[in-house]
Amino acid sequence: MPDAAADHLEPTDEALAAAARGGCVRSYETLDRRYRARLVHLLTRRVGREADAEDLAQATLWTAYEKLDRYDPRRRFGPWLFTIAVRKAIDHGRASRRRPAAEPRGDTPYAGLAGNEPGPLQRAIDAEAGDGLWKRADALLPKNQWTALWLVYGEGLTPAEAGKALGVSRVNARVLLHRARKTLAADLAIARAHTHVAEYPVTS
């Protein structure tokens, strides 16, 4: 999530996008630095392999740069960029299905990582502190549920913006969010119950 304190010191994404559209390449390079890792993170959950995600992040940023004329500066830049990224991931998935020797891919974001070495970003995420609520989400949630949840809680999009990025209606986006939270809550309750049992074992 963007640092609120830094927003007062640095130009907003929208201002940078407007400057880039006017011809300032350095402004777009700043946007690139702000968003590339976040795009790779999101796209890794969509396509499974970090190397593919890096390629798609590059394609996303390039496409956005080419199409800056179509960006409306009155709207937020992030949701627009993530919408392009999700479209790239969907196209990538279609192309992969057309390839005859495509590796088996499951429905969960991590399923495609089986047999692949995690990239640098994945290793950094694996080492992150905390009790791992998002690690549970990574492992448990289907792609669209995970994407909706991350776009709302991680990137600060509204459910409507997340729905637009995913190509679903606002209602469907809320359904995805509800199901994701329900799955996580159930898994978390089971995990905490086990912890409670471990801490307070039942003695006969």
Binding site: A37, E66, R181
Partner: protein, 191 residues
Amino acid sequence: MPTPPLETELRRDADARCRVLADQTFPVGDYPPRQTLPAPSPGPAAVLGRLARLAGLGAAATAALLLTLTWFGGPSESPSPPAVWLADRPAPGQLGVSLQAMVGGLGEVETELGQRLGPSLAAAARLPGRLDALPRGLDAAHDATRRQWAQLGEDLRAAGADLRRSWRLDPAPPPASGRLPAADPHDAAFG
């Protein structure tokens, strides 16, 4: 200690992950000046917009053509008096025998000439005179053909007379009646 709501946990852990992401460094893309970029191809919405505009232009052009044809091809508003006005249009069952023969003869004439004669009754009414001159303009080498033409001429001549008797000529058309169209241009070739 009470467990925080799931939404709070999600935001808190997302912030932690975002900090990890912010620490990652990826090489920045190499972007050329936007002035050197090729013109972007039109998106689907732009393509659909263009198609809609083309369809609109096509529809407008078609409507204009139809309007023009209706205006110039419709009944003439010229003050010149029409050749023949029918007070009443007889039903097909009311046609006299001679008239039916004439209509049948018209088909034969059309077949012989290989072209369509004027369909108007005004032209048909002048057919006997035209038919008199017709054999002279045709290659009628065989007697059978001449006899056929002569018989057809007689039939049509009788039909023309029947037509003149059957239909009353009005000097001015009633508003609801139809005006006969003018004779075909090639009528002049037959006098």
